[in-house]
């Protein structure tokens, strides 16, 4: 009779490792404060310029920010600054 098998969990045993909950959607309308984060890939600014134009047309405030390098996560200070001053952030991926 096979009693089954006990194995040890190879993960970090954190729920975050399997996905994080989505933030609530922004309310409809104008006036949201939106950060545009340039990750420092070539031509990311071209893409963000266009996004900025579209957002402003719709009556939103835009704050332009940038990571020091696309290869590393945004520094904690930058993340906090965005979280404090903005309702949402759009990260530009470009090449």
């Amino acid at each position: 009779m096979n009693d089954g098998l006990v194995i040890l969990d190879p993960t970090a045993e954190r729920d975050e490792a399997t996905g994080r909950p989505l933030a609530a959607a922004l309310p409809a309308g104008t006036g949201a404060r939106i950060a545009l984060l340039d990750i420092r890939k070539p031509r990311g600014d071209v893409f963000l310029d266009e996004i900025e134009r579209l957002l402003r047309e719709r009556g939103h405030e835009v704050q332009r920010t940038a990571k020091p390098t696309f290869t590393k996560p945004a520094p904690a200070d930058l993340r906090r600054e965005i979280a404090e001053h903005c309702d949402a952030v759009i990260e530009a991926l470009a090449d």
Partner: protein, 491 residues
């Protein structure tokens, strides 16, 4: 005073002694016969040797584990918890003395003077492993959550279904296997090795060992895997970006020093290929840590456009016994008498063939062509290069007396091109340096940021005028910098 007599059902010496033990108990001796076998086996044993009562069972082998005999019958005289005397096997005179000390008599009728015992069940490898795992859990050495796979589940399929593999079967990480693997490091299993991107999972020695078991490590590879995980979690290695990038690079572990051989690694023929357990499992263990502890999954967090076969795991050892240079890790700061690793964010390797090379200058010219093509021949300053010299190429440098610095300097010089050749549009290809940066088309522009951004290692089989060349991921401060580390702190 109490006498404990441990027996097991398939031991003929136990069968010889058991009737005398029971007779002593009936006559009032403070003796408990305790069986290491299961209930059915113990019942059959009692019937076979003619006992009137079935010996009590050693539940969970707790008593056997505490008394820890090598052989049974094991007759132990206890005063409270304190052991006063012990006889393992049948030695009539010593048993009589032990019973006398307990104020009792052992009937000697039919007992041989001496008869060797049998191995205690606690010494059998499977049982010993189970008990070691139980002890490790009780002592807090092992703290990982236990996952129960059902009796009807195939463990290999279950591990796939739970998203814990790299697509190949993994060895189920049972507590027994993990505890056995942990014997290969002196480190406490709860020591933190690193915080693993992208989700910041904490890789303890235990968690690394679990993934190393899954990768197929035999044991001695563990200190190398631990050193690699520590190096991978350093900020300068930028593992978060390496996992998340669309670029195909993955971590490559190069081991330099005598412990590579002790761990069973291959530095010779097919060192970069399949067929050697340590080479195949060290890199795989690191990648499973990134997946399971860090949470980086291909196609989800890992956005590689193509990836490459080395992302299953890549590791090889340097062939230092006839290398023209010192070890790569030692060149990068690991003490000369220690084994070290160098961790590189590397593409798949490519062959550089020069079967006509006989002198260092010409060989450098050939190697430079491969180095210059990393990412794109017109890409500059953003990439590192790694050359794994094969022995027939390495010999050319050794015999000419060229050391690492001289080879590196020469390769650096030979990978410099006139700005006009690498400007956007030159040669018909749009990639390259922006025209506004090119004031003089003859101005030389280096491929690499500095000579030491060209790493040199030495490995491979005796025959073949070949070397292998790896490109990096985005390199240096803006990307991933190679990391070296000693293996010694993890042994």
């Amino acid at each position: 005073m109490e006498v404990i007599a441990l027996v097991k059902h398939d031991c003929e010496t136990c069968a010889t002694l058991a009737p005398a033990l029971e007779a002593a108990a009936i006559a009032g001796a403070p003796v408990r016969m305790v069986s290491q076998s299961n209930e059915a086996e113990t019942r059959a044993f009692a019937e076979r040797v003619g006992l009137t009562t079935v010996p009590e069972l050693d539940e969970g082998l707790a008593l056997s584990e505490r008394l820890d005999p090598e052989a049974v019958p094991a007759v132990v005289l206890l005063d409270g918890d304190e052991e006063q005397d012990r006889v393992e096997g049948l030695h009539r005179a010593r048993l009589e003395a032990l019973f006398a000390a307990a104020g009792a008599t052992l009937p000697r009728d039919g007992l041989p003077e001496i008869k060797p015992g049998c191995t205690s069940i606690t010494q059998e490898p499977e049982v010993a492993a189970r008990l070691a795992a139980k002890r490790a859990r009780a002592a807090g050495r092992i703290r990982a959550r236990e996952l129960d796979l059902g009796a009807l589940e195939d463990p290999f399929e279950a591990l796939h279904q739970r998203g814990l593999t790299d697509g190949l079967p993994v060895v189920p990480p049972t507590p027994e296997r993990v505890v056995a693997l942990l014997e290969h490091t002196r480190r406490d299993p709860q020591d933190l090795v690193g915080v693993v991107p992208p989700y910041g999972g904490e890789a303890t020695v235990e968690k690394v060992a679990i993934n190393a078991v899954m990768a197929g490590c035999a044991g001695p590879e563990l200190p190398i895997v631990l050193a690699a995980v520590e190096a991978a979690c350093r900020e300068a290695f930028a593992l978060h970006g390496l996992i998340a990038t669309t670029h195909p690079a993955g971590p490559l572990v190069i081991v330099s020093g005598p412990y590579a051989d002790e761990a069973g690694m291959n530095a010779r023929g097919n060192a970069l290929g399949q067929g050697n357990r340590a080479n195949s499992t060290i890199g795989r263990a690191l990648q499973l840590v990134a997946r399971n502890v860090g949470g980086g999954r291909p196609g989800v967090e890992d956005r590689a456009a193509h990836g490459q076969p080395g992302k299953v795991g890549a590791a090889f050892a340097e062939r230092l016994e006839d290398s023209p240079f010192d070890g790569l890790a030692q060149d990068r700061g690991v003490p000369a008498d220690e084994t070290g690793i160098t961790l590189v964010a590397a593409e798949a390797p490519r062959l550089l063939l020069d079967q006509l090379a006989r002198e260092p200058e010409g060989l450098c010219a050939s190697l430079a062509t491969a180095l210059e093509s990393i990412a794109h021949p017109k890409q500059r300053l953003a990439w590192d290069g790694l050359v794994v010299l094969g022995p027939e190429h390495g010999r050319i440098f050794r015999e000419a007396g060229w050391d690492r610095a001289r080879v590196r300097d020469r390769l650096f010089a030979l990978t410099t091109s006139p700005a006009g050749d690498i400007v956007r549009g030159a040669g018909g290809s749009p990639e390259g340096v922006e025209e506004r940066f090119v004031s003089d088309p003859d101005m030389p522009v280096a491929k690499f940021a500095a000579p030491d951004r060209i790493l040199l290692a030495y490995a491979g089989g005796d025959a073949g005028l070949f070397s292998m060349v790896y490109g990096s991921w985005a390199a240096g401060e803006i990307g991933s910098a190679p990391q070296s580390a000693s293996v010694e702190p993890w042994r």
